[in-house]
Amino acid sequence: MEWEVVIGLETHTQLQTKTKIFSGASTAFGSEPNTQACVVSLALPGVLPVLNQEAVKCAIKFGLAVNAEIAPRSVFARKNYFYPDLPKGYQISQYELPVVGKGSMTIQVGSGDKAYEKVINITRAHLEEDAGKSVHGAQEGMSGIDLNRAGTPLLEIVTEPDMRSAAEAVAYAKKLHDLVQWIGICDGNMQEGSFRCDVNVSVRPKGSDKLGTRREIKNLNSFKFMQQAIEYETSWQIETLEDGGTIQQATVLFNPDTGETRAMRSKEEANDYRYFPDPDLLPLAISESDIGAVKAEMPELPEAMKARFEAQYGLAHYDANALTSSRGTADYFVATVDAGSDAKLAANWVMGSVSAKLNAEDKEISESPISPSALASLIKRIQDGTISNNAAKQVFEAMWAGEGDADSIIESKGLKQVSDSGAIEAIVDEVLAANAAMVEEFKAGKEKAFNALVGQAMKASKGKANPAQVNEILKKKLGA
């Protein structure tokens, strides 16, 4: 039987606020344990939550970015369960009335000829607080609790079960990861847990419209693990069903060392959490003017920028897509063009040499040793014919290594292209005189001999002659 995998994602994004969602304690990462755990984080009796307006703004930004309905009235609810890193005995979340409703995102899957676009529907996004952390091994038979993270604002983003392969799920997660950073609501740091994905996976016979029983893979913090976990889980479920077994709804953990998923505990029924409206918090009202104020602060979104790059600069769809994959890349490209570079050349350099170097050195584009204006000054020297493309690559390497600006490197390395036709003519004459045999071959109809002569002329000029001019003069001299 042919099987189809059905995948939905729930992503917890830590919002980039200075303080916690319901208190004025700092959310800075990496501080000494419990130094950012105030009375609200500790759930001391009598304390009350007060909502952080920045967290609300972040939720509105996300809603606008995925064309979702932003609820004029949403409600906070208590999700009840017992765990030491949740001292209140409940997590404040949103249940029936989330702040962000239905929206959608378009993802690009695969590359080359097999690339395709797909719309992924967002079910909802809601505000909630993060829990603290349990630290094991601090003392025999005990667990240590650090409540610095308790109360950090999260936006949980939930999709419809719209994805049909691990590749689609990863493409969605990457796109979401880019988007939340683009709009500045999340730093996207997966190692520090700022962006955590739970993946719901089920399988069904291909063509069936009934969903199979799902298992939820918890807390995936890298795209590579996500891909591996989904692939393992999918084949495990298919094998189980083909062997006549059944799938039990469960929460599973992925073990990166073995590449396997393992059931953690049977998934509690939703009503086990006994959600109810939190009497400590009033309904959250968001007016049209609140939304308008946030909209005015929003950066141009990647989709809009992509369309603009195609229309304004005549870039290909693929290039426009690559340049808008992150806000850093887009800003760098725009700054390069604004500094006077040709847009298509800038696009090639940013996606080519710059991104290759960044990848090799595992750097962000903001850390590039070559600034956009420095890159533009290099590209301008290609545009005005001062240097060849090959020479430009050498200049780029030297600039990257911090040897100076484009013009001084061109000067010191003597890379200036020779475009003086008199000088080139002299070189061509020498080459013709020294390679009489090749000239004869060419005259006898061997086209290849011409290229060999061009090569000789370029060599004689130490690569500095303008190749187009060499071609032209050689043709003229040979009467071709």
Partner: protein, 95 residues
């Protein structure tokens, strides 16, 4: 909707409340009474009425995103039963 004593035990377990069999019986009759009252209330036509999520008809006040809390770990941990290296210690929890 009717409850039995197994439901009572389950609800008590979820809330981490210890109930003896006698208490469970007493609680069962009380909760059944409450559910009966709710059933009676459900006869009221509530079409077009927004469900109430708070008893006061006001909306949430928002706080500026400014750090106002300072580190008071020493004070807070002075009343904790067990601490080590800044961590609160609790009986071991295993996933």
């Amino acid at each position: 909707m009717s409850l039995n004593s197994a439901d009572i035990k389950r609800i008590a377990h979820l809330a981490r409340i210890e109930v003896s069999d006698t208490e469970a019986e007493a609680t069962l009759s009380k909760l059944t009474g409450i559910l009966g009252l709710i059933e009676q209330m459900q006869a009221v036509d509530t079409t077009g009425i927004v469900p109430m999520s708070h008893s006061q008809d006001v909306t949430q006040r928002l706080r500026d995103d400014v750090v106002t809390e300072t580190n008071q770990r020493e004070l807070f941990q002075s009343i904790a039963p067990a601490v080590k290296d800044g961590l609160y210690l609790v009986p071991k929890v295993i996933e």
